[in-house]
Structure formats: structure tokens, C-alpha cells
Amino acid sequence: MEQPKIRVTLLTGRTIEQGVGKEAGKGTKEYIDATSMCYMDSSDMKKLGVKNNTNILISTSSGSVVLKAVKYPRGAMPGLIYIPYGPWANAICSSETNGIGMPSFKGNPAFVEPAPNKSVLTMEELLKSQFGR
């Protein structure tokens, strides 16, 4: 059977958990937990058949990354996914600066599919795979 896959709009941004984590240190569990996840609307999760706190694969033209899907706790946002700023979000963010220096951190198309058998890379694994360090 073919894996379900949906097209969404990718947003990246701040959350209070990411803020607390970054101030404590970017190697802390708080920071890593807060940035290696992705908020999704419950209707989109239903379409994909993914449960809360299970892994998904997000792909854009810039790359792909496995993250933990978390149901967005406030209101509905169908068709949008929200990843807190961090190295995992940057792995798939567009580098288009439109000639003014600002990369496109919000509003890029992305595809999401369930990834129950893939694991979220640790910070070290992610950096090693991307930059060899």
C-alpha cells in the first residue's frame, strides 16, 4: 500500500519551550526536545493516519528531516505545519533571500508523510550528516 502524503505550508518560528531551552544552553534536553518536533493540525494528522508524538518525514526542495508530530493544542490550522526555530527546521528551510538577505523561513511548500520506522536524528547525527562535523 502506498504511504499517504500531504502537501502543506511550512512555518518556522518561536515557542516558549524553545526560548527556555536556548537560554539554558543548546545542548540541553529542553532545547533539543523543543526544536526536534513539528506542530500539526489534528485534521492533517488524521489524513495521514499519524498519532500524537509519532514520527513524520517532512520534505521540501531544500531537503528532508524526520521529526516528532505533535497535535497543535490551540485552534485549527489545517494545511500548515509549524516547526520551532533550530537546526532541524533549518535542514529543510528555503535559502531564497529574494535579494534582501532574509531567507524564507515562513510559507514554503512541504510534503509530510508518516515515518513510523525512521528515528529523529540527534543533534550530533544531524550535524555530522549535514556538515561532517
Binding site: 531537503g63 537546526p87 562535523r133
Partner: protein, 487 residues
């Protein structure tokens, strides 16, 4: 045990200066008045993720070295580079930033700060259309309409509402804290009723209406007396939950919506039913609330600067405020993120004439974001060395830009081990500004505030300012030697 009052918090652009710290045996043990990010910073300054000694990458491994060796090596890299970049600056004090400008000029590099990936587009707009703004004190005492557009202060600037806007007791405008408490109680009661209804305990259970992303109608209370809070965003944020009115708009449609609002402010009719997913009648009610206020303010964030349109979104927001000022009093302010990103812009401007993306490669400052911005330089693979201070582009730049950062010598100055430090070639530990080093910083409304030194830095650890000054001295020696050899 001593208590230090009126400490300025070195976390976000709010620069709350009412923090009370309890110091015991030379360590901070208690934080009063701060938000969760403030507590996290003041209480974890000594944790295991702190950089303790300078490190240099040798044969792929980071090896501890002396400050002298790391400073000499960094100076060599910068002095011998053709086109180095000096990026970051937003989490350090103005004193270190000033030395940074001197160093960038000396090595003929590019000086850029984190405005680039936050409010750089806002700066471009301000340079085009100006900005009608004010200080946060004016807003605290006088503003009766607060609009947060594309930003979520509850998450990124947690005490912004409490100190400067809706929940502050101003001289002419009161706090809306009580109405917020009532709203929370009503919402908790509603949730309880729904839960009992689901369990079948209630005889007349309330109807469960699933939440949708459809825009809600503005409530009657939008015309009430006193402070009103409106949030405009693409998703229901924490701030949206407590707002008097939350307008959920379609992603990437801010420009159209603001143009429509501008037309309505000018009493023009629109011949469409909806703009950006919002019915025009709702926009009209929003405009009525804007025109009927005594003093309104729009705060905006990354929702405008990072979405499609970028600086054009800010252009139209500022133009809207200019239009509103013909009918009432209105101001607009960007929600600056890092505690001294405003200082980085300010210091760079009074030293070079430009706020960010300043290129010294021709011997004089040039400014052309898109060409001289660090992200574009990295994406075009033009730089041949980098110094990153008080920021973490490894975490906050797109992967392709970071790839070129890693491909060349990378010097990192940061108190904590962050992603950039993990992939760097030379890492300097440094004293935390605002905790272990005194200095000055600019609040998001351009008010300069002093930062206190409350505890001693770890033994032997230097401050950003000292490290930069010593690198600069060393660069000058290397350059003088080169000059001598050439003549």
C-alpha cells in the same frame, strides 16, 4: 545572602529592568519578577553546557588551548583573509559591538548582525517610508488599542503585555488583567461543562462545536471602553487566546489585507467579499475599532518579515499607520528579539552610517543587503573566513548557508556550547553579558539601559570586549609586520 534589585534581563528585546536576584556564596540562587526564559538564563549560567576553555580544531578534534594561542590564531585567520565575515553581535553589549566595528574595518570584512534574519526587512522599509513610533512608556500609559500582527509575545517576549501593553497599570489607561482572569475562568468552566457533557453526566449537555480555522466575527466588546487587544495571525497563538479579538488570516496574505484596511480607512469601498480569507465586513469592524481609539499601536514580528513580500509587508503596515494618523493617533513598533539587537543596529549606524550588512572590503563602508548581507555572501560562497559572536547562525541559517560557513575557518565567541560552536574551528569561552559583565544595551524602542554584573565569570574567562580588543591588537601587529616585509 544578598539581594540585587533592578537588574536588567539580558534575554529578549523587552529588557525588563525590574529583576531581583538573590546571590548566595557568589552564585545566583533565586530570580524574582522574571519570565521563564529569564529564569532559565539566570539559573543555568553555570551548567555543564558552558564553554570553559578556548578550543582549537586540530586533526578534526577540538583541543583545549590558551587564550593567547586562540587569539593569535584568530588574528592570523582574519588578517590573512580576503573577504572575512563578522556576524552576530545581538547578545552582547554595545561596548563589544563598538570594538567589532573597528575590527571589521581593520580586516576589510563584512559586519552583519542578526537583524538580517529578523527585522532586516523592517529596517529596509523604515529607510523607504519612515516610521511613526514612540517609546514603550508612552504605550504603557496611553495606548487603548494594542494590535499584535504576526507575532506572539506570550512565547517570544513573555512580559511584554505585563510591562508595556494590555496588563500594565498606566497613568491614563488601566490594566486588563482582571478581564483576562475572568476570561480564563469562563473558558475553564466551559471546558469542564464540555467534558461532563461528553461523559454523559449532564442532562442538557452543551453542543460541541469543533474548532475551525474560519475567521470569527469581531465581538461586541471591540467597541468597549478601556484597553483592547487584537491579534492578527495565521494560527491561534498563546497571545491570540487572551485577545479580545483574534483574526485568523490566510498565510502570506498580510499585504493584501493591509492594503484593504488602508482602503477602508480612506472610506473607499471594496468590490470583493473577502480578502486573505477575512470577510470585508469584519475588516470594516476592525477599521472602526482602529479609528475610534484614542491611541493605537501595531506591534509586528516575523509573521510579516519572513513571509512572502517580506519588507513590502512592513512597508504597507507603516503606510497604514501613516494613514491612521490622519484620523487618530497611531504608532508602530517591530518586536525585536535578541536583547541587544537594537544596540547592534544603533552602534553600527553611528559608527558606519548603516545598521547591518556593512561591507568594508573597499576600505570604506558600503551597504547593499542582498549583496553585502552575510546569508547571500555565504550562499554565493564568497567569504573565506568567519567570526561569529553572541549568536548561533548554525541553528538559525538555512543549511546551504551554514555549509559554506563550515567550509572555511570559523571562529566562535560564545559563553555556551551551541551549534555554531560545535562546528567551529576556534571556540572562545566568554563572560555572559548582563550576568558576569556590565555594559549597555538598547531596548526594542531604542531606549538604552545599563546591564549589571552580578557574579564573577568562571576563573580566567574573558569578556567579549576584551577578546575582541586583543584580537584587534594582534591583527594590527600582523598587518604592520606584513607591511614592513613588503617595503
Amino acid at each position: 545572602m544578598t539581594v540585587v534589585n533592578s537588574v536588567t534581563c539580558p534575554v529578549c528585546g523587552c529588557l525588563c529592568d525590574d529583576i531581583e536576584l538573590t546571590i548566595d556564596n557568589g552564585e545566583i540562587v533565586k530570580v524574582k519578577n522574571g519570565c521563564s526564559m529569564c529564569e532559565s538564563k539566570f539559573l543555568s549560567y553555570k551548567n555543564e553546557h558552558r564553554n570553559k576553555t578556548p578550543l582549537i580544531r586540530k586533526d578534526g578534534k577540538m583541543v583545549p588551548v590558551s587564550y593567547e594561542e586562540a587569539i593569535h590564531k584568530s588574528a592570523e585567520i582574519l588578517a590573512n583573509a580576503n573577504y572575512p565575515i563578522l556576524y552576530g553581535w545581538s547578545s552582547t553589549d554595545c561596548e563589544a559591538q563598538r570594538v567589532g566595528v573597528e575590527l571589521a574595518e581593520e580586516v576589510g570584512g563584512v559586519l552583519d548582525n542578526t537583524s538580517l534574519v529578523c527585522h532586516g526587512p523592517s529596517i529596509l522599509s523604515v529607510q523607504e517610508v519612515g516610521i511613526p513610533t514612540c517609546t514603550l512608556g508612552q504605550i504603557r500609559h496611553r495606548a487603548d488599542l494594542i494590535i499584535y500582527w504576526g507575532c506572539d509575545p506570550w512565547s517570544a517576549h513573555p512580559r511584554h503585555l505585563e510591562r508595556y501593553t494590555s496588563f500594565t497599570e498606566g497613568r491614563f489607561e488601566g490594566s486588563e488583567w482582571k478581564s483576562y482572569i475572568n476570561k480564563v475562568k469562563a473558558s475553564a468552566g466551559k471546558k469542564k461543562l464540555l467534558s461532563l457533557g461528553r461523559k454523559g453526566v449532564l442532562k442538557h449537555a452543551p453542543e460541541i462545536i469543533p474548532e475551525t480555522s474560519a475567521v470569527a466575527k469581531p465581538p461586541e466588546t471591540l467597541s468597549k471602553q478601556g484597553r483592547k487587544l487584537i491579534v492578527i495571525d495565521v494560527r491561534k497563538t498563546m497571545t491570540a487566546e487572551i485577545a479580545d479579538y483574534f483574526m485568523q488570516v490566510e498565510q502570506g496574505k498580510d499585504y493584501e489585507i493591509m492594503l484593504a484596511i488602508r482602503a477602508l480607512v480612506k472610506d473607499q469601498e471594496l468590490d470583493v467579499d473577502k480578502v486573505g480569507g477575512v470577510p470585508v465586513e469584519y475588516l470594516q469592524e476592525l477599521v472602526d475599532a482602529m479609528l475610534n481609539c484614542e491611541f493605537g499601536v501595531i506591534f509586528f514580528g516575523m509573521g510579516l518579515t519572513q513571509s512572502v513580500g517580506k519588507f513590502r509587508n512592513v512597508d504597507v503596515a507603516i503606510s497604514l499607520v501613516r494613514d491612521l494618523n490622519r484620523r487618530t493617533k497611531f504608532a508602530i513598533m517591530p518586536m525585536r528579539g535578541h536583547f541587544n539587537v537594537t544596540g547592534a543596529d544603533t552602534v553600527s549606524t553611528w559608527q558606519t552610517g548603516y545598521p547591518y550588512a556593512v561591507d568594508f572590503s573597499l576600505g570604506y563602508p558600503r551597504y547593499n543587503p542582498g549583496e553585502t548581507s552575510v546569508t547571500d555572501i555565504l550562499l554565493r560562497k564568497e567569504s573565506d573566513a568567519a567570526l561569529v559572536i553572541a549568536s548561533d547562525p548554525g541553528s538559525n541559517f538555512p543549511r546551504k548557508a551554514v555549509e559554506h560557513l563550515v567550509a572555511n575557518p570559523l571562529i566562535v565567541i560564545d559563553p555556551h556550547m551551541n551549534v555554531t560552536a560545535l562546528i567551529g574551528d576556534i571556540v572562545f569561552p566568554t563572560a555572559i553579558v548582563g550576568i558576569e559583565k556590565a555594559g549597555s544595551a538598547y531596548r526594542m524602542d531604542h531606549v538604552p539601559l545599563p546591564l549589571k554584573k552580578v557574579v564573577e565569570p568562571p576563573e580566567g574567562v574573558l569578556s567579549d570586549e576584551e577578546i575582541l580588543t586583543r584580537i584587534l591588537e594582534e591583527v594590527r601587529i600582523i598587518k604592520a609586520k606584513k607591511m614592513q616585509e613588503a617595503t
